[in-house]
Symmetry: C2
Subunit: 328 residues, 2 copies
């Protein structure tokens, strides 16, 4: 295993210390609980938007804490849910009278721990479950996984909370964005979890893994490596069938790198995906290309499409100031 | 070779088409010349800041075109200088009466072609040569290479030009930032150039390459893989000896990923580097961590330190709106 690392068991703490130091102008850090919170939060009551999960997906979630997005992020060990105590600590830190909304990616550990945390809280709270991964059928036994669409839910709900929306409105909005979002990923390589020290699955030199999640687990299908046009067409066909996009629909197109894929390839994927949509009359009105929801050092990418109406577009465009998304 | 690609010979054009489409709100694209220019440039005369070079280093340079930074970027093939005709086309597009400043990384091909382009131009022009890579001695036969410090030169000079500095001032400022900047890189793996189809050098599983540039060339020394503390201490010792930083000096600390290194590891490197500086009384007043000057899919990172005075700090903080650097 070749990594910049001292010891696997200290990596997360050392890395979060560096992250919080590099962004000390906008973030607070509770080293004991491994919770990143927003500096200079709202003075008037505002729904506290909290997310979190296993690490290894950076910049998700800590990179999205700040004005107009998350109020706090809880970091578990790599690919491991944070505990209810971390979530409770985060809530106690940022709740200011308007309740707490947890944004939870659909994985058994995260779901269980956020549910326990919700029961522990004294304040009003609700949860949005993100399950945007359309590589699994809607009736899959564990439900669909939450992947790169999570940041879109976080951005749009975060903007609404910033504008003063109440808890019920934020919850309903999160569910709406989740419904309007579909993602699918493909891996060219596995990732290597430091504590394991070797790739979590193996692919031959001429194979790719279609329908992967973000935890180095196997995808739906191992298939031969083909050209980018064919790979992107396969992803986009599944995504568009699921979303049932009609012509003239406005969408956000998000190409997400899993960690080890060069920007040049991600923009090639974006180009092919945008042509796929253009041929069908679907209008790409906003774009996001880069490493946002990663899987350590995995080579691969996912494509996410979110159908936008005028209200969602305004919230997407609203000002945001976090370590890894910033505009307005 | 596993990449998202149709054919090596069409990768660059397809990728730039996607890039320019994703950022059409701030950029123009001349597909014939492969030149990205800033949309909505200055109306009053302003020094045109132009850079460029071989591609494979994204987001450098095209990702830094926009308000407060570059006016144009010329893209050569992967790791191959653009031609003087591309540079001339870029200059003709963005020059508006205050002359042209070329920011050139010190590589033979780039230097030669930018010199030819300068002779071809009818307007006043000057060049800043960036040579921040301290892994090579100052008296190296080809001079030191320009690496991740280039974006710092581009940001600071771009801010000055935006504020109305004249050509001589921008040129002197670029030289000053270059002098105040030192970088050094280390690779855990080689990169794979698509047209070659295999890694450009080989490392054993327990070896790293110290003092690498950004073109997949061998570094100064192949050495055993050690822990992150030791690797970072080696980089920082060389950098600080070169800069001759005194205690109380304010610096910008930039940890740059080469493309395949997870964010978690980059922030670990940042944490160790910032402690190294703190022990010596050197004050990190600004930070930048992420993939900014890459080498395709190389695993590795570089550290850059720039000594900042009050004037440079103000210019670094000045508003910027590009695809990959945005604030203010």
């Amino acid at each position: 295993m070749k990594k910049f690392i001292n010891r696997p068991e200290t990596l997360l703490a050392e890395s979060l210390a560096g992250f919080s130091k590099a962004h000390a102008n906008i973030l607070n850090y509770d080293a004991e609980q491994k919770v990143i919170t927003r500096l200079n939060g709202s003075e008037k009551p505002k729904v506290a938007i909290i997310s979190g999960g296993g690490t290894g997906h950076e910049p998700l979630h800590a990179g999205f804490v700040g004005m107009g997005m998350l109020d706090a992020a809880c970091s578990g060990e790599i690919f491991t849910s944070p505990t209810p105590f971390q979530m409770e600590a985060a809530a106690n830190c940022v709740e200011n009278g308007a309740g707490v909304l947890f944004i939870v990616k659909n994985y058994a550990g995260d779901v269980m721990n956020f549910e326990i945390a919700a029961e522990m809280l004294d304040c009003e709270n609700a949860s949005v479950l993100v399950c945007d991964d359309v590589s699994l059928p809607k009736d899959h036994s564990a439900g669909r996984r939450g992947v790169a669409g999570t940041l879109i839910v976080e951005k749009i709900v975060g903007a609404a909370a910033e504008k003063g929306a109440d808890l019920a409105t934020c919850k309903a909005l999160g569910d709406k964005v989740n419904e309007a979002t579909a993602s699918m990923g493909v891996a060219l390589s596995s990732c290597t979890v430091p504590a394991l020290g070797k790739p979590t699955f193996k692919l031959a030199d001429d194979e790719i893994e279609m329908g992967v999640g973000i935890h180095g687990e196997h995808g739906c299908k191992t298939q031969p490596l083909t050209d980018a046009n064919s790979i992107v067409a396969q992803l986009m066909t599944t995504i568009c069938e699921d979303l049932k996009c009609s012509a003239e629909q406005s969408v956000l197109l998000h190409v997400n790198g899993f960690g080890a894929t060069p920007s040049m390839e991600l923009y090639l994927v974006y180009e092919i995906a945008s042509q796929f949509l253009a041929i069908r009359g679907i209008k790409v009105v906003r774009s996001l290309v880069g490493n946002y929801t990663t899987s350590l050092d995995m080579a691969g990418c996912s494509i996410t499409v979110t159908c936008l109406d005028e209200a969602l577009l305004l919230l997407w465009d609203a000002p945001v100031h976090t370590a890894n998304l910033r505009w307005g």
